[in-house]
């Protein structure tokens, strides 16, 4: 696993898990690996893995049941909320990039449509 | 301790097997010579094989002692020593196992070679039929050298005991000298020479002490020397263990 070593590892791993939850790869209510297993799977320190779950729990996207483990929330609205937020972040990052190139928001939308068309053409 | 002993045996068994193998070959040659006694070949084989057997007997006991010192040296000065010194065992146990293994090996090989020698001599003169004559000759030889020990089981036992015990003491002196060399003089100038001088000095000291012991004649004297050597070995063991525990870095 390659991480950006200048950003806390727990931030990066929790983003990966959050992404999987939003995409539905990890379905609502499903059980997540234990802290040590998560650490081994992602090649990270067990304390870092514990921190990942702490963070996801704080956000309410995961819940830990005593003696049972950590689970993805069953609250679909919560997942939707996180998904919206992550998508919003991605959109803002994209816009910032486009603006940085001296283009306007309209250009950004047009670029998106072209890119989508190009993708279709590839198929 | 038994576990340590087990691995000390494993570290040294190959040498013993080689000594045993050579002894076997020489013994076979001797027996072959006995069978061919009337031919000229037999007459050549017998003296050569007897000489070889005598040399192996002395050499074998010496080699076993020397190898024990070399094994200790390797354990203290090469990476394989980590294997030994990372175990939860004290220096008293580590040195103890080594000395015990060596003491037992020296005693067993001494008894083995003596028994073999006794058997061969008996065989030879049973074949030649002049056994009584031989013992008389040996007695005369010993008298010539003013050895006042009777050729009885007790007398022979005392000679073997004294010589094996003093050899064991010499080996334990080498242990102490080597431990001092590895623990205290390591990396210093003249380490090798100082260690050798120390070894010689301790040997002289031991002989001086043994001579100072009240001793009688004949068997009594031999027993005193043997027991004195064993006591000296124990002192060397304690000193070695203390130094190793406190100062040895591997």
């Amino acid at each position: 696993m390659d991480y950006n070593p200048t950003i806390p590892i727990w931030v990066q791993v929790s983003t990966m898990l959050r992404r999987q939850i939003c995409a539905g790869t990890l379905s609502p209510g499903s059980k997540l690996p234990g802290g040590r297993d998560l650490a081994a799977e992602y090649g990270i320190n067990p304390n870092t893995a514990a921190r990942v779950y702490q963070e996801l729990e704080r956000e309410g996207i995961c819940t830990t049941k005593r003696g049972m483990g950590t689970f993805v929330t069953q609250d679909e609205n919560k997942i939707k909320e996180v998904r919206t937020q992550m998508a919003g972040d991605a959109a803002r990052a994209y816009l910032a990039e486009i603006h940085g190139l001296g283009l306007r928001t309209e250009d950004a939308i047009r670029m998106l449509e072209t890119a989508e068309g190009g993708k279709d053409a590839e198929k | 301790m038994t576990k340590l002993l087990k691995y000390e045996i494993k570290k040294t068994w190959l040498t013993k097997l080689i000594v045993l193998g050579i002894t076997g070959v020489a013994e076979l040659a001797f027996l072959l010579g006995l069978c061919l006694k009337d031919s000229s070949a037999g007459e050549k084989i017998i003296p050569v094989s007897i000489l070889t057997l005598v040399m192996i007997a002395f050499g074998g006991v010496m080699v076993i002692g020397i190898q024990s010192v070399l094994t200790l040296h390797r354990d203290m000065n090469t990476k394989q020593g980590y294997m030994l010194f990372m175990t939860p065992r004290s220096s008293y146990q580590i040195v103890g196992a080594k000395m015990l293994e060596n003491g037992i090996s020296i005693a067993l090989s001494g008894v083995f070679f003596f028994a073999l020698g006794f058997l061969d001599i008996t065989l030879m003169f049973a074949r030649y039929g002049e056994l009584a004559e031989l013992w008389k000759r040996i007695r005369e030889l010993l008298d010539m050298f003013r050895v006042e020990v009777p050729i009885t089981p007790a007398g022979i036992g005392a000679v073997i005991f004294a010589s094996l015990a003093s050899w064991l003491a010499t080996v334990t002196i080498a242990y102490l000298a080597d431990i001092i060399s590895s623990a205290l003089l390591n990396g210093k100038k003249f380490n090798g020479i100082l260690t050798f001088v120390l070894f010689i000095a301790l040997n002289i000291l031991m002989n001086y002490m043994l001579r100072a012991l009240p001793s009688g004649q004949g068997i009594t004297q031999l027993v005193v020397i043997g027991v004195g050597s064993l006591v000296f070995s124990v002192i060397m063991y304690i000193a070695s263990s203390i130094l190793m525990e406190r100062y040895l870095s591997v």
Binding site: M1, Y3, P5, T6, I7, P8, I9, W10, R36, A39, A40, Y42, G43, I44, N45, P46, N47, T48, R51 | K3, K6, Y7, K10, K11, K79, Q80, G81, Y82, M83, F85, M86, T87, P88, R89, S90, G187, R246, Y247, L248, S249, V250
Partner: protein, 235 residues
């Protein structure tokens, strides 16, 4: 859990470890970093009880290291150290004979994961295999402290993930892992704290996630900050 106070080791006129005082706590994986010859190995050997300090002390749970601590501290040296007559099975038997916390079952499982056969002779192992064997036999102990000196040395890129996974699986709240390495990148995600040693002196002990969060620097960045200009000077 493992504490050194003013720990010093001199070899002749050269000081390998120079008045190092630090306390390593359980529940963490420490990366011990520094260029070759900075004193990492010497510190570990003193903590393992193999080397006697010139001055200062090193203790395990309040007791000076020695007979008792060796029961609870699993040390893996960077050099191969098995007796030349041993097979991989003999190595396991040796640990079984001397360490109460050794599990033959766990040893066999680790051997399988590392694709080592018990019949192989240690003398004929490739350097990569020998490195894996050292790790397998050390991790098969259920020790309180694991000190692994250069665990990734000699291990090819593909096998490193496997080794890392095995090491991480050993970490627990009541255990302490100390890994030395000059392959800093390999340790970045595994360790949560780093001990930086330079010319035998302790520079600092840092919490890595905190360092990334507050300073935005990685362990490797910090490593370059500490040692970078000295390497230039040497060249």
């Amino acid at each position: 859990m493992l504490k050194s106070e003013e720990l010093t080791k001199k070899f002749g006129g050269k000081t390998a470890v120079d008045h190092v005082s630090m306390e390593l706590e359980k529940g963490h994986i420490y990366a011990m970093l520094g260029p070759n010859g900075s004193g990492k190995t010497t510190w570990m050997k003193m903590a393992a009880g193999l080397m006697k300090p010139t001055s200062g002390t090193v203790s395990f749970e309040g007791m000076p290291v020695g007979l008792e601590s060796r029961k609870h501290v699993a040390y893996m040296s960077t050099e191969p150290y098995f007796y030349s007559w041993m097979t991989i099975r003999d190595v396991g038997q040796y640990y079984e004979d001397f360490f109460d916390d050794f599990s033959m079952e766990k040893y066999r499982q680790l051997l399988r994961e590392m694709e080592l056969e018990e019949e192989m002779k240690t003398k004929t192992l490739s350097s990569g295999m020998a490195a894996k064997l050292k790790i397998a036999v050390t991790l098969a102990r259920d020790a309180s402290v694991y000190m692994l000196d250069e665990p990734f040395n000699g291990i090819d890129l593909l096998a490193r993930d496997e080794i890392r996974r095995c090491i991480i699986s050993e970490a627990a709240e009541d255990k302490l892992l100390l890994l030395s390495s000059h392959l800093v990148e390999e340790m970045e995600a595994v360790a949560d704290r780093a001990v930086f040693i330079k010319y035998g002196k302790l520079v600092e002990v840092r919490d890595l996630e905190e360092m990334r969060l507050t300073d935005g620097v990685s362990m490797a960045d910090r490593y370059r900050e500490i040692y970078g200009h000295t390497e230039v000077k040497q060249a």
